[in-house]
């Protein structure tokens, strides 16, 4: 599928991941243009409904960039996000949509350069799966 440009929704926390993204930018590593970034107060605010609605709207992948374990400013926001992602993945499995389209990555301010590895990994994973059957990429 040579022309497939995955549409990725990325929720990221305003603390560690935001700083990490900024430090990546300072090193000239930018977020690929097909990532729609949504900055949120804490990954604990990412609701199952947000993830579902992004999938329903046809996103090819929906990911969360969270603070590392123990680094969450609200203590357990990243753990809650992980559990909600597990819930959505199970639901997707039940309805026959690839659960790998949803996931979580941990990232902090000192890891700026590894942003490239994360976005690359997401892009490879989603490219392998192909466009979401719900069609945002086709419509775009």
């Amino acid at each position: 599928m040579p022309d497939f440009e995955p549409k990725i929704i990325l929720f990221y926390c305003q603390f560690c991941p935001d700083k990490g993204i900024n430090s990546a930018c300072a090193s000239n590593i930018s977020m690929p243009s097909n990532f729609r970034k949504i900055r949120i107060p804490c990954t604990g605010t990412v609701d199952i409904l947000h993830l579902m609605h992004a999938l329903e709207a046809g996103a090819d992948g929906v990911f969360v960039l969270a603070c590392k374990e123990g680094d969450c400013h609200n203590e357990t926001g990243n753990i809650k996000a992980q559990k909600r992602i597990t819930y959505v993945r199970k639901l997707m499995e039940d309805i026959g949509l690839e659960p790998e389209r949803v996931g979580i990555y941990y990232f902090n301010s000192s890891q700026g350069p590894s942003l490239k590895n994360i976005t690359q990994e997401i892009l490879e994973k989603i490219s392998e799966l192909g466009p979401s059957p719900l069609g945002l990429s086709e419509a775009a």
């Binding site: 609701d47 199952i48 409904l49 329903e56 059957p133």
Partner: protein
């Protein structure tokens, strides 16, 4: 509260397989508190069903609504307008199973489906964990047992326990179940009332329970 959980999504998908447009109705009562059928769960289920059907190239239209309660006729009346103004193939209820029955009782021309399995009367042990505490026997006797219910919480509903299977505080049925008779013993000891447990509790009259058939409570002072 009444504790329920959502049916497997595949079972619900099979229910709506022939439908193009449905009304999904949640309840703001018990099932909101136990995170099974409130506004949010209605949204999640609607989204999951729409994703599954869109993926198959057979989209389904789902209107969402959450009633104050589904166990009171005045709230069920609120479905009248939406049912009149829309050509729904069916109504799916996300209340405990009283809800879909109240909808079916009030509207005789629409198919009604339950999306939850109603499990028990209980409470939250912690966030996300609920356990059974009462079986609605119709004649509460927990004061004889330190305030703990041997009917709902003993696997054999023993009135004169424990049985020989109680070990280390756990029930022989499963290591996940606390033996309530162990708890009753500990609590009566704590209260200095162990001697009360020497008395043999007489056979319970089950006519106040389901054995007397479906039950009804009539309050003449409240009736119109």
């Amino acid at each position: 509260m009444i504790v329920a959980e959502r049916k497997p999504i595949k079972e619900i998908l099979a229910m709506v397989a022939d439908f193009k447009k449905i009304l999904l109705v949640g309840c703001k009562g018990c099932v909101t508190v136990c995170n099974a059928g409130g506004t949010k769960e209605v949204g999640i289920l609607a989204s999951a069903l729409k994703i599954a059907r869109k993926k198959e190239g057979n989209p389904i239209e789902i209107d969402e609504m959450t009633l104050e309660r589904q166990c009171d006729p005045e709230y069920i009346d609120q479905l009248e307008e939406p049912l009149k103004n829309n050509n729904y193939d069916a109504v799916l209820s996300m209340a405990c199973s009283v809800g879909p029955q109240f909808i079916a009782r009030r509207y005789d021309n629409i198919l009604v489906y339950p999306t939850l399995n109603t499990c028990f009367m209980g409470g939250a042990l912690e966030h996300g964990v609920w356990a059974e505490f009462c079986q609605g026997c119709g004649n509460c006797i927990i004061h004889h047992f330190g305030g703990l219910c041997p009917i709902a919480r003993c696997s054999k509903s023993l009135m004169n326990g424990p049985c020989g299977g109680s070990a280390g505080g756990k029930c022989e049925v499963s290591p996940d179940i606390d033996c309530v008779w162990h708890l009753i013993y500990d609590r009566m000891k704590q209260l200095g009332k162990l001697d009360q447990l020497r008395e043999i509790f007489p056979i319970k009259d089950w006519s106040t329970s389901r054995d007397g058939g479906p039950r009804k409570i009539v309050r003449e002072d409240l009736k119109k």
